[in-house]
């Protein structure tokens, strides 16, 4: 739970938004960086791209833990003279592409994966984390179609399936969109589905993939996971805790970690 405390800490300093979205994908991002990516941090043949850019605080706190970003970098989050904003920015150590506008990550990741596999003839893996909302973007589905056609079996996507978007519940916005799994499989992707907060299950599902096709792990998650009043609340996409709520959140996170 150290990562969640750090997310709260840096966001609270500037009353930043998006903590809840970072909490929902945190275990998956942790598994990617600390389990699936090969080689030393910052020198891996593999690439991680945070397609759901608003989840970047999860990325920042892990990159800090890995020594790729400094404590000062995070302390200056969203502050003048800092280099970390509410969305990841290309050129910052550990950040492979600028994302934030939804529906861009699949294209970037597909192009990266294609180049690694079919042009450079290497074995580099491309990991990316998508949001529910991104599945509503046509560009995501264009690339979902393309990725299978381009035979990018080194593309490993994670869906942070917390069922929320800023307006509310995704199943209410687009009830006919569900279930997701069959739609992705119809494009000749391999798909697995696990509890996205169970790091071991996430790791095992990716490790057990058959391969030969692009892979999607649907990680069922809870927006705001770890803070009782945030869990499942769409408002926490934008809101940040007041001082009392912040104290309660820290108490709860300590309790969970003990």
């Amino acid at each position: 739970m150290g990562y969640r405390r750090r997310v709260l800490e840096i966001s609270q300093q500037v009353q930043a938004l998006h903590a809840a979205g970072a909490f929902s994908c945190l275990e998956m991002v942790d598994v990617i960086y600390n389990g699936l990516m090969r080689g030393a941090a910052g020198n891996s043949p593999d690439t991680f791209l945070m397609s759901k850019g608003h989840g970047c605080m999860a990325q920042y706190v892990i990159l800090e833990d890995l020594g790729i970003l400094s404590r000062q970098d995070l302390d200056l989050y969203c502050k003048p003279d800092g280099r970390l904003g509410c969305h990841p920015d290309y050129g910052v150590p550990g950040i492979e592409a600028s994302t934030g506008s939804l529906g861009h990550g699949m294209g970037l990741a597909t192009g990266m994966a294609y180049t690694e596999r079919h042009v450079n003839k290497g074995d580099g893996l491309i990991f990316t984390v998508l949001s529910d909302g991104e599945l509503q973007e046509g560009s995501t589905w264009e690339c979902m179609m393309m990725a299978a056609n381009l035979e990018v079996d080194n593309l490993i996507c994670f869906l942070d399936h917390n069922g929320m978007q800023s307006f509310g519940n995704t199943a209410e916005t687009h009830p006919r969109f569900y279930p997701i799994r069959e739609k992705v499989e119809a494009f000749n992707w391999e798909v697995a589905e696990v509890n996205g907060h169970d790091g071991a299950a996430v790791f095992d599902a990716v490790a057990a993939r058959k391969g030969g096709r692009p892979f999607l792990l649907i990680g069922n998650t809870v927006k705001g996971r770890g803070v009782s009043y945030m869990e499942g609340g769409a408002i926490w996409h934008y809101r940040s805790p007041n001082s009392e709520e912040y104290k309660q959140a820290l108490d709860e996170l300590v309790e969970i970690s003990s």
Partner: protein, 305 residues
């Protein structure tokens, strides 16, 4: 021009393994087939999925490639605009977006296929270079620059096919970022244009010469951004009159930029712009007939100068 583009990218691709081509269900004839057959791993037909084309090209560039994205101009720039802006320009990636058949050359296909605002749209994006070569040889030189020297994204406006050779006797060499005198006249009139309207500019020059006995300068402004402001200012001050001809709406194109330069330097007369109208014209006829409906016709321009 499109066939020559395919020739150019094939020739460059033979020796530069970073060159790749992405198309969206459209392919220039001829050499693109050779490129596809000889370098299949560096050719992707994205189908009718232009957002994917630009996004995938950006991902390839992030892994070291120098992609060219090719389709009809409305679909290469307008449809995936945000991918062009965010994925290519914001990250300053060396990807060339080809806007083929720009202007109103697809006359009978209707306004959905007319690219009348692309120079304004592309020029408005930070980091974007905007090129519009006027004949096959300028296009070859521009393509070579994009493939080997560009350090960020380029939007390159191309004609369709059949553009004549207009630069064989050019006074100046082709240098990205510099205007290029194809004809240096006697200082009475300077015609500034770019891209496929260069043929019309020569027609206008011929008519003016026949009418007045004076020889106009004809200038290819193949680089719209960054614009050679010093070169434009010199043209404005070294000629009694300047005319800008462009197959583009009146706002945000070369004509607007030249007016800015004139205003900034206190030049208040002797400048006329000839552009498309700020209208969607529902007219179905030849390219030349549609140009005339917009008021872009050599005879009319020569009379109005």
């Amino acid at each position: 021009m499109r066939n020559k583009f395919a020739d150019a990218i094939y020739e460059i691709g033979k020796t530069n393994s970073k060159i790749c081509a992405l198309v969206a269900d459209i392919s220039p004839a001829g050499s693109m087939v050779k490129f596809r057959e000889e370098f299949p791993e560096r050719f992707i037909n994205c189908g009718v999925a232009e957002q994917a084309m630009i996004g995938i090209a950006a991902g390839m560039a992030l892994k070291g490639m120098r992609p060219f994205c090719y389709t009809i101009a409305t679909f290469s720039l307008y449809r995936p605009f945000e991918m062009v802006r965010d994925d290519l320009a914001y990250q300053n990636l060396p990807v060339t977006v080809i806007g083929m058949g720009a202007g109103i050359i697809y006359s009978t296909l209707g306004g959905t296929h007319h690219t009348m605002e692309d120079i304004a749209v592309a020029s408005a994006i930070p980091n974007m270079t905007v090129l519009a070569p006027c004949d096959p040889e300028e296009m070859r030189l521009a393509t070579t620059w994009c493939a080997t020297e560009s350090t960020g994204p380029v939007y390159m406006r191309l004609g369709k096919a059949g553009e004549p050779d207009l630069t064989a006797n050019a006074v100046d060499p082709f240098i990205v970022g510099k205007i290029r005198y194809l004809v240096r006249g006697d200082g009475d009139l300077c015609i500034l244009t770019y891209g496929i309207t260069m043929k019309m500019a020569f027609d206008v020059a011929d008519r003016v010469r026949a009418k007045t006995g004076k020889t106009p300068s004809v200038v290819s402004v193949h680089t719209i951004k960054p614009l050679d402001e010093a070169g434009i200012l010199d043209a404005l001050t070294s000629h009694k009159q300047t005319a800008v001809i462009e197959e583009h709406v009146p706002h945000g194109g070369l004509g607007s930029r030249v007016k800015e330069i004139a205003w900034d330097n206190g030049i208040t007369n002797g400048l006329k712009n000839f552009t498309l109208k700020d209208e969607f014209i529902h007219f179905y006829g030849s390219y030349e007939e549609l140009l005339a409906r917009h008021g872009l016709e050599a005879g009319a321009i020569a009379e109005a100068i």
